[in-house]
Symmetry: C3
Subunit: 452 residues, 3 copies
């Protein structure tokens, strides 16, 4: 396992130190507290407090949810949780700057940050972690750090185009987070295609306990998705409505996932891959329309469809993507984030178009401010929503291709084909002491018998 290229002794420290020092310098030069966080400004203006409760729920999804969801691999738990931790810690700092350039830059030339910017940085980080799911097991921590730096930057560009220039609504990020992260990651893994990956095939699967660890991730993502989709919506009815729509979408999605899993899997038995992933597609698909007057009824239909599409994707589409398009998508992010993200974007555009603005009453200004102010018609807004999906796909695919080529650099220390999905390339891995002791005991005993 001692391969000079995968040895991280100098590469990783140098990269981490340089990145962190650049971040610290940029924060020193550019970043100040916003009015809600600054002692002087707050106590002059006395504006309404943001709550940190929503932030903490999103934070749990990013670090526990994504981290443990990926521990399903039998010998890649350290890397799943550990690299998730590393690249998330980098991404949220870099995202603060990148999103700050576009959203938070004030007339004083400074980036003003507070609780809401922390939530937005976590959102951006989520997108990077989705891409991580596509390349899981096949990349070095160095490649992941480099990927994160580029992806965060492109995420901020795409988000700026959608939310600021086009006035698109996407509170839970069906487009900005899920579609973007999925197709970006799929393109990266396409470029990093390994024809001989079957050399590591026996490790690209779960064992009993690793599936249980992964369920910790699944359940946390599932539970807090209502907080995720509603974290940056306006306070009051949009926040409640988004949480509720997401809740019912996920519940319906769970039933259709179990149904489809039993229907398609071997012998009518449930497949953990489906339960761990497809049951979450309802949250992704409610990301754009969640804050709209989608109704619980509409939300359940969306979730129901998302579960079906996602299981079918795992069963039939993923093998095709791998064989025909050479896209090796370890976690199946296309099925959990890609297709449900597109579904969510479409549902958002359709909901925008078909729900009359009278339904919103005075609440219209919180959901569609430009429609409420008379600057736009709902059909125009719906058009913007649809165009946003196309732009997101374009930036994600193009960006992923470029970044994929960058990550091919030998120096970044990707694992060899026969050492993928294996923690011990980058981690000190302890032995299974007791197990080994007892095996040794058996061996010794038998040998002694042989000799006697």
């Amino acid at each position: 396992m001692t391969d000079s290229s995968t040895n991280m002794r100098l590469k990783l420290p140098i990269t981490c130190f340089i990145l962190e020092i650049i971040l610290i310098i940029l924060f020193g030069v550019l970043v100040v507290y916003d009015d809600d966080t600054d002692a002087k400004a707050f106590n002059k203006n006395m504006k309404m407090n943001n709550s940190t409760a929503g932030f903490q729920d999103v934070h749990v999804m990013i670090f526990i949810g994504f981290g443990f969801l990926m521990t399903f691999l039998q010998r890649y738990g350290f890397s799943s949780v550990g690299f998730n931790f590393l690249i998330a810690a980098l991404s949220l700092q870099w995202a603060t700057l990148m999103q700050g350039f576009f959203h938070g830059l004030h007339e004083d030339g400074k980036i003003h940050i507070g609780v809401e910017s922390m939530i937005n940085a976590d959102f951006c980080t989520g997108s990077v972690l989705i891409s991580f799911g596509a390349v899981l097991g096949k990349t070095s921590p160095l490649q992941l750090l480099i990927m994160a730096v580029f992806e965060v930057t492109l995420f901020a560009v795409n988000e700026f185009i959608l939310l600021t220039i086009l006035g698109t609504r996407d509170a839970g990020g069906s487009m900005t987070i899920h579609t973007f992260g999925a197709y970006f990651g799929l393109m990266v893994t396409r470029i990093l295609y390994r024809p001989k990956l079957e050399q590591s095939k026996h490790k690209n699967s779960s064992v009993y306990h690793s599936d249980l660890f992964a369920m910790i991730g699944t359940i946390y993502l599932w539970m807090f998705w209502p907080s995720f989709n509603s974290a940056v919506t306006a306070h009051g009815d949009p926040q409640h409505r988004t949480a509720m729509n997401t809740y019912y979408s996920l519940a319906a999605c769970t039933l259709s996932t179990y149904a489809m899993s039993a229907l398609t899997a071997h012998d009518g038995k449930l497949d953990m891959v489906h339960i761990q992933n497809a049951a979450l597609a309802g949250g992704v698909a409610a990301g754009t329309a969640g804050e709209m007057m989608l109704t619980p009824f509409g939300s359940m239909i969306v979730g129901f469809l998302a579960g079906i599409i996602s299981v079918l994707g795992y069963k039939y589409l993923s093998p095709i993507l791998e064989e025909k398009l050479k896209i090796q998508d370890t976690c199946g992010v296309h099925n959990l984030h890609g297709m449900p993200g597109i579904l969510g974007a479409i549902v958002g555009a359709v909901t925008t178009a078909v729900v009359p603005k009278e339904v919103y009453g005075n609440g219209l200004k919180k959901v569609f401010p430009e429609v409420a102010s008379g600057d736009r018609e709902t059909t125009y807004q719906a058009g913007m929503q649809a165009i946003s999906l196309v732009i997101t796909l374009a930036i994600a695919i193009f960006g992923g291709l470029i970044v994929g080529f960058i990550l091919k650099l030998q120096v970044l220390g990707a694992p060899r084909d026969n050492a993928c999905f294996e923690d011990s390339v980058y981690w000190e891995v302890p032995g299974e002491e007791h197990f080994e002791e007892e095996l040794t005991a058996v061996r010794t005993e038998e040998t002694e018998k042989m000799n006697s």
Copy 2:
């Protein structure tokens, strides 16, 4: 393991699809946003926001708490977390409708739902999951779905009788949730009695790591119980008081649980079954009186007793229930939810009777509105509390018996006696790859030595 009756290939998908489609249709016809969630109504009335923070805490208990608490079985972790997930996702949708018929039906003939209805649906779901604990390992997912549909319905009926007709107070659900769920489940498992269950006996126990997974469930239930008991109390002092009473009840319960476990278990060693379960009894027992002026002192006495009763139940009563009454209670829900639930109901009635209303001052109207308005005396209220326990027991026992007989239908696919407590009946279970490889290696090596 391929048994035509337990094969879920068509049964489970058909059931899930039919149930979900019925739910979607009923939601489409009957359900609308409440004033706190609807864009138009909210922005006309501007009422106080409900917080989603309390909801998220309860949600964690339902999906992580109950789900992982039941993973203690060595080969039933997928089913514990997975079936918990499935029936909870169904129950919360069905509960929304059933509780809505009784609580949320407005003059317009619609069910108005919002954050509070989501918490109540989660509460009802908790009751179903308690019953699941009694039958754990011995039922098919199909049986569980059918059980959930009936139990949710009866839960809503009982809750309506108690809270609306009788004006009973039961914020944390000692009666409505715990006593109901426990005795309902115990009756179901009584009817499903398996005389030959010892054929699966070797799987009806824990292994080292499964006990650690179960502790995740225990600790989450323990930590968030203050939020659970206070989730639907009035804002302000009742919410703080309920959280605090529950906190001290649980702390005292934990000490008496450890004491009793060491005292009763083999060689003075602690028994994980007690720690995982009995330490939670203090939360159950504070469910009714938690919002009352029970005082921390009273709460600690209640918790202290609950822990003792619960450990004694596990040690001495459960074996008797199984041998004499033929009640095979896998998780010991009688000890965790049944007896502590009854204790909680009694404590609630006594506290209502003995604490003079002067102690509440102007706060009386939030805890006992009918006493505050002069419609009732505290003794009358206490009588209602006591009667409510009897009604709850009657509906739970009678309902459980009926539903138990329904679940005996062959077509529902219960596992055979020698395949209980075993995931592989209903799940694709991965091998323990490394372990098997090494065992094979030992075998091969030894064989080679033999042959040489």
Copy 3:
């Protein structure tokens, strides 16, 4: 394993019962609801509600965070989570009384408790759990209970001297919680020094799955540290600022931890011990200055340094402490809580001294009330901060030495040198059934072949 001294059959129950009965009596005599929790008082005064959300986040850190962080040992998971649970449940009750004597005692001679006292009791409990980390694996539950009683008492004394007498600011407890808990525990483990501990050496390490369980603890501590440090700060800007400073300190700390781990560990591979622990040092180090105008820039520098110091401590200082000073620090609390706690105290004093009070504007009174009122200069305040560190170290070291000698009492049932780091001394431990079955099968098969 049946050793009369370690047998807890009578000792543990008697101790738990006596302690809990004393607690109940003292609560009955001394404790009443505060105005925010009492029905009468609240509804007379209508003061602002405290939120229970911050409390719940801290609670998660205490029970899941600390509990699972210590499950890294291969055969000590039951004790790690279980003893953590037991001593935390005791400590929070005892802390309520001890802190109440100093902070909450009103003119009526009663201790008034509410949501804030629950948070403070959890904080004090955290300190005990840090000390638990130093002696992990080498003490009986009885020793831990006795330690908790003394440590909570001394914690309350130290906290009173710092916060009330000296007017020191330490919202996140760099001094009161981390420095105190670490040096207290280090002194206890020094007195309990075991020259023959290498007899248990093979159990004083992790296995693959135990490291993953420990990561649950790490990630929860990491995620909720912003809530921890800001839980008792003033509402509004200090709360937001503290959460934000902690967030960036931790993010920077994570990058420097990964860098240093790869740089110092074998073959450039990452070491789980560093990731699990050192990545948290940024939270400890931001405990005092977090509420001050430290700026994100300053926070990142602090976190960055904390990660470096902590990894270096694990790598180079811990072995020296063990060999030269005979301090056997199981979890390395000196590296995670000790040195970063001192760093945090120094950063707090320096920040107090160098940030001009004009920077705080009207917000000064929330952070430095005595400076705002003109009673003190900032330099005087900074001096008090520095003196507080010295006092904390003195009380912790002296207290730890005394308590260490008390814990040496034979009757408390410490495990023998060859039975440390082993659950089965105090717990019923299940076998690894499947594993044993299969090993037996191999054995039988081979034996049969031999005989044929």
